[in-house]
């Protein structure tokens, strides 16, 4: 069973295994197909039309499946790797070890935003940005420039306390847990982190920055924490909603998975903050 760990707790060997697997997916072209898929949904998910990956209730199950596919691709390269999560309420400055040269590299240089250190710097020749919204082929960041502060623990707690998963009109103007976590309403959690990192993370091709996966692994963890705290709250809507993925509707692009299938993350992985499931504990 895969265990997703806090990135701050990874050993140097675990960091190297993770970044090496990312570089291998980049080399084979698999990485870029994920970026293309994400941007396709970014551009087609609309508040008044069909919406699957963003600004809709299925934001959370869609990204859970998207990350599972990516994690499976990483594990084909190296079975020991899992997706780390970035708790941005705790590691909240550009001086965090997350941004060190032995992990993701740091912020971009002033002139053009180009990330100059770490395994994903353009000069290495191993991590060109191929799926892009403009002509720039290098990874860019502007940590803390688009917005000064990452969301705080208190802001997260307030959102986790919201008892209703989502509400009509099931889009970026909705109240409820999903939209406050996604960030179109309220304190703005998920969206703000994209803007804080800047560069490609602020665009539709945000998965070009490897921190995308660690950010969404944490958003995914917050969904699991919300479920644990609100055991009587269900995924909504249940059925019959136009343009929106109901509980038992399938999600594009896979068409073989529903939000109901994604509700229990423990079918697929656990977090390092959770007890080890009895089944896998007994096997050890």
């Amino acid at each position: 069973m895969t265990v997703r760990k806090n990135q701050a707790a990874l050993t140097p060997e675990e960091k190297r295994a993770f970044t090496n697997a990312l570089l291998e997916l980049k080399r084979t072209g698999a990485y870029d197909r994920f970026v293309t898929t994400h941007n396709g949904f970014i551009m087609s998910d609309t508040d008044s039309g069909d919406r699957v990956g963003h600004r809709s209730p299925s934001f959370l199950p869609w990204h859970r499946r998207f990350l599972l596919e990516f994690e499976a691709a990483l594990q084909k390269v190296d079975p020991t790797v899992s997706l780390p999560y970035w708790d941005w309420t705790a590691d909240r400055t550009s001086r965090s070890s997350l941004w060190a040269a032995d992990f993701l590299g740091g912020t971009g240089r002033a002139r053009d935003g180009q990330v100059m250190d770490g395994p994903f710097a353009y000069a290495t020749g191993k991590f060109n940005v191929n799926v892009r919204v403009d002509g720039r082929a290098y990874l860019r960041r502007a940590l803390g420039e688009g917005v000064a502060e990452l969301p705080t623990k208190a802001e997260v707690e307030a959102v986790l306390a919201m008892p209703v998963y989502d509400m009509a009109p099931w889009n970026s103007s909705s109240n409820g847990f999903r939209n406050n976590l996604e960030g179109w309403r309220g304190a703005n959690l998920h969206n703000r982190v994209h803007v804080w990192v800047g560069g490609q993370m602020g665009t539709g091709v945000s998965p070009n920055d490897p921190v995308f996966w660690m950010h969404h692994a944490y958003v995914d963890k917050l969904w699991a924490e919300w479920q644990a705290r609100n055991p009587k709250s269900a995924y909504l809507p249940a059925a019959g909603t136009v343009n929106v993925v109901d509980l038992h509707d399938t999600m594009r692009p896979w068409n073989d998975v529903t939000p109901a299938d994604m509700l229990d993350h423990r079918k697929f992985y656990t977090f390092d903050t959770e007890p080890v499931p009895a089944a896998s504990a007994s096997q050890r």
């Binding site: 293309t36 396709g40 551009m43 087609s44 600004r55 935003g113 403009d134 688009g146 994209h194």
Partner: protein
């Protein structure tokens, strides 16, 4: 044709004014003051050296005059140096683009200017085709 000439003239005016650092507001005023051939909401300005052109959505006439293929009827066409910027309108009336996807802007002009700042001189890529295969 006459319309294009007039827009080009506007662009030139805005370009000259941008050197004075007052391009935005002045170009707006120029567009608003111009004759009826330029519909309300049309913008043609030079901002930080980049040409921004905004054409409002056509109303009442269907969307077969579309500038691009899919499902974005009712939206204005925003171009930066002639390249189209993918834009969307949120339910609350705010705007986002594919360049600034995770923060909202009050109107298409401020959205286009934010894209210019973000591009730092880079050229917009053509729209990516929908439907990846990952």
């Amino acid at each position: 044709m006459n319309k294009i000439t007039r827009r080009q003239a506007l662009g030139t005016t805005a370009g000259a004014l941008s050197a004075l650092g007052i391009a935005g507001a002045t170009a707006h005023a120029a567009a608003a003051d111009s004759r009826a051939s330029i519909p309300t909401g049309t913008v043609d300005e030079v901002y930080q050296g980049r040409r921004i052109q905004i054409t409002p959505a056509t109303t009442g006439g269907g969307h077969h005059g579309g500038h691009h293929g899919g499902g974005h009827d009712g939206l204005p066409t925003v171009r930066i140096d002639g390249r189209e910027l993918h834009v969307m309108r949120n339910a609350d009336g705010t705007w986002i683009s594919v360049v600034n996807h995770y923060e909202t802007f009050a109107d298409p002009t401020s959205l286009a200017r934010a894209a210019v700042r973000e591009l730092q001189g880079a050229v917009l890529a053509p729209f990516a085709p929908m439907g990846g295969t990952a």
